[in-house]
Amino acid sequence: MSFQERMIVKNPVFSLGLGIGPVLALSYRFDTAWVTGVLSLLLILLGKGSVRLVKDAFPSAILWYVRITILTFWIALMEIVFEAYLPGLRDSLGIYLPLLAVNTFILEAIVFGEQGDQNEWYGSLLLGLAYLGTIAFVGAFREIVGSGTLTFIMLPGWTLRYVILGKPLQPIRFFILPAGGLILYGYLKAGFRLMVIRANRGRIEEES
């Protein structure tokens, strides 16, 4: 599977409907959006690597329980470190930080279901990158349109933020609210669907 196919045809958020919660709740600002994407990618890879280490000790029937235990361990570890060093970011992510464990678990299950044990690292990396790209895109769009700014990073006492929409343009605040996120999700889903239909139609015409 190519990156393009994973990003458009089998996009985890818009085509498969996975991980919608964090996408809607945390994409109100670009920095929280890309951090969530990076954490998801990191969790997918850490979870996969850790499961590989203990894989032989457990029968395959209970490997999913082991997988969720390991993912929750990693997320709890991240939570402690964030609490100590990045409390602002921890607050921004809120309840969605621990929920990323479940999110990653489901994303992993999809890769496993699609490919079995074939190219599992590549499949996971692709999925994590597609999720990161999607949430970062939605985050950038919502923040630019909703707040008129683009926040790259927010650390205690230091923020990197660009003002994109100045006067006379006014940001549409609705887009940073959950309802705005949901409506944007609907339009993007429809757009992705249209792209897939057009791509399929073109392919069928070429074949015939």
């Binding site: 709740a25 082991v66 390991i70 570890l77 921004s92």
Partner: protein
Amino acid sequence: MNRYLPIWGKITLLCLLSALSLGLVHWGVSFRIHKQENQTFENLLRGWKADTRLGKNLTVGAERVVPSMRFVKSYIPVRGTEGKTELFLVRLFPGGYVNHYQLLAAYTKEGNLVGCMVEKEIVPTVSTYSKPSPALLKVLGKGRWVSRTSGMETLQMESLQREEIDAISGATFTFLSLVEALQEGASFVIRGGKRP
């Protein structure tokens, strides 16, 4: 390994190892978490005295849980140099329409509000994006609204007018429950940290 340990034993071992590792990491960074908490308390208490320094002119006591009160969940006494309780830090859970959040309010022992902040929230964006409405500005006496994210005071509060019910940011952060919680906190402190 399969010869010596059954499956349930291996899972138990995995959980134990995870818990031990998390405990060690928490122990390693606990000084930092403690420092962050002290910084939060100092930001809040600067509404009382601008030169407040915890550990120098004030000492924070242990947190005490308050059972069976509607909003007040726990309090922390803050003692002066003579060992007398000067201030109270009170943790309040006002609840809300869809969002649950935790307030941290600082009161003098007479029940005057010194500062107030949203300490934790289940759903983010409430304290990050919400600014107190003009009606809320009149609520908290001379207390200050402190933002945890920026660590700075954002707005000054004026006199209390409870009947002006409003919302800070839609229905997620209800004004009435916030005011009631702060009032319950004040009456709790006036009684010297005792339930009615």
